[in-house]
Symmetry: none
Subunit: 221 residues, 4 copies
Amino acid sequence: MPVQQARARSRQQKILRAAADVISRRGYRDAAVEEIAREAETSKGGVYFHFPGKEAILLALLDHTAGLLRGKVEAAIAAEADPVAKADAALRTLLRILAKHRTLARVFAVEAAGAGPRFNARVSAIQDEFIALIREQLDDAVAAGAIAPMDTTVVAQAWMGALDAVLQRYVTAGSRGAGRRSLDEIHDTLRRTLLRSIGAEPAPRPTDNGDRQESGDRHDH
Amino acid sequence: MPVQQARARSRQQKILRAAADVISRRGYRDAAVEEIAREAETSKGGVYFHFPGKEAILLALLDHTAGLLRGKVEAAIAAEADPVAKADAALRTLLRILAKHRTLARVFAVEAAGAGPRFNARVSAIQDEFIALIREQLDDAVAAGAIAPMDTTVVAQAWMGALDAVLQRYVTAGSRGAGRRSLDEIHDTLRRTLLRSIGAEPAPRPTDNGDRQESGDRHDH
Amino acid sequence: MPVQQARARSRQQKILRAAADVISRRGYRDAAVEEIAREAETSKGGVYFHFPGKEAILLALLDHTAGLLRGKVEAAIAAEADPVAKADAALRTLLRILAKHRTLARVFAVEAAGAGPRFNARVSAIQDEFIALIREQLDDAVAAGAIAPMDTTVVAQAWMGALDAVLQRYVTAGSRGAGRRSLDEIHDTLRRTLLRSIGAEPAPRPTDNGDRQESGDRHDH
Amino acid sequence: MPVQQARARSRQQKILRAAADVISRRGYRDAAVEEIAREAETSKGGVYFHFPGKEAILLALLDHTAGLLRGKVEAAIAAEADPVAKADAALRTLLRILAKHRTLARVFAVEAAGAGPRFNARVSAIQDEFIALIREQLDDAVAAGAIAPMDTTVVAQAWMGALDAVLQRYVTAGSRGAGRRSLDEIHDTLRRTLLRSIGAEPAPRPTDNGDRQESGDRHDH
DNA sequence: TATGAATGAGCTTTCATTCAT
DNA sequence: AATGAATGAAAGCTCATTCAT
């Protein structure tokens, strides 16, 4: 009965999407399953048919998103040849995708923190994966002699943190006030800063062969 | 009656301290007022006599801590003459104090996030103060010609984020495994990286005129 | 189409059997229709096709089982001529059959109790039938002058209760510990005691013309 | 603060009483904590302040009642000298008290059965205590040569079961119909039957120095 | 000031039942 | 006949907050 299975899968997607919305609006602890259900156009029971519990929803959301994200980042890295350019690409891709899907970014970076130690651990683990990804590029760059030796673990952490902080402020800020920067401006400053931080004189802006809309939200999956 | 007032203040301190402990242990949403009261050696009613509600406790905790921290950072900045050294000093002081008081660091950086939008705003505001502090130093350095012009707002955000991420991992990690670095090593890598990121060739390790115990926790206030 | 009807009946049997198993395992209130369906190798919808609701399953199970049981007890009674022997036979048959089908015994004697007033009434009614069966034998024995006059209603209740209690402990006990008695030993003590209780000096053990395996469970219907 | 403690204790009693009422009315699984709270003139939260959960209420009720009961039965036994009279006294006391407090009897004998395996175990354990009490008297009687040797364990089970069954029917029956017997009549038949079952020719009715009202319910504790 | 019993709104979760497929 | 996704009422439980003592 592929019809039912298809329906089930699409329902799950709908619930995940709804959960992302509600959680980013209310925060995890105030995101009632009832409201998630309403937003997904189903019922509380429906949610519990597809997920064993509230925790599982956020966990699934986390894993789902992280998987997508990692895939894209790895693809972006693979598309570059130069070690430094690879690091640069990882950074650029993270920044762009997270900025594109502000809802997810909030959930990912902010809201999950309040969901208890279990989630902190999971979020940390996921962030660690990305840190590891960055570190590998840095290690390669060191091995290739492109940059000087350094404690790449700490540096990768610092990069990830820098990206996170800048992004969070970009995402949270809304369009308030004068100092509002475009994503491109932010990206530009950030990559210059970070590349310089490892002693790699920032190359001119890479010919960017991707979409660069600052764009909206929705339809994350 | 100043005696009573003094007693009241010390009770409040006790409650704040207890709250910091309980929240860092359980997370904000699972930190029951009951447990905070017990830890502060008073009763639920006692807590509610001194604070109008649970939210107010964390808010007060945040402000109290931020005030202390800002004072120390400003003092450290004032003690340096060179613009780049000032930025360096801000960084160093933050790192050292937060590392010293791991409990507070967790509450500050991690747990508050789950306490709802109100807290996120407050934490952001506080972090913004520190970002502003860093940015001012960077601006001065630019004005003094010590470093090249740049978007100091974004760079300051990046610094703060980098510090946060590195610190959080240091604090969370426990003493697990091989890759464990001392705080000094972390500090060293981080300041090199960040100073290089603004094009300031890192000076040799500053003659450190402060305490540098990696030390324990407790008695934060 | 008698073929379809036969199929339907066998499905119903399968469901009843599954219900007996699940209820004896989980207790009535925790016996989910879902699990009964799974055990009967059908689906929730399937169960609801054959029975109007969960209550109806247990009710049908009760009636079905009681019918079988009553038939056997009546046959055993009919096979004896002497009034006291008839009473003895009723007792012996109940003990043997219930012991043989421990699953049913549990459902019958223990689990049904928690299923609400409706079930208590039904179980009581069924037990009353057996009590009536015993009482009739006692009445006949009194009429035949084999035993002295007595309040046979109360005595029959007492017999049934005694049998229930002894049986329940036999069934529940598992094979734990030293005091474990064989079913034959239990039967022997019980019939001596009960016969003596009506002033009928227990005859020597009847030549037993039936199976007496202590045996297993399953395939009750 | 003995005032508060006294209040707390009386509240607990009130809740236990209310629970007994509601459970005997609705059965365990349909006895909502909400309704118990209402009946005890408090709130759900109030109930949970005094008991850790719904289970705990019934467990406490069971233990509380069993304790009272055992005390009285033991006292009744101690008041008799003759071994057979002791067994008789145990029986008589159980019958009288349980009949007096019909509500408790229902909870004790019937409703607890549906509360899950945990309760079945507890109820069984409690019944076992009373069975042990009866058995001890029987053993003493055997040792004293007052009755012939027998499997006193099984006989005690049978006695308890007989008492249970008779009592349950008495309690459940209400005052329906013609066959309604007084408690005295029931007691008389039962003791005759049981004493005869161990070969002890029933003595004439003991001069009964206690209350024998068939009486009502309430105020059990 | 302090206590802790009490409140009650609100949460997550379960599950008998329904019904489109 | 059968499936299993969907429903929604109802339950147990938590906890910030209040208030009589």
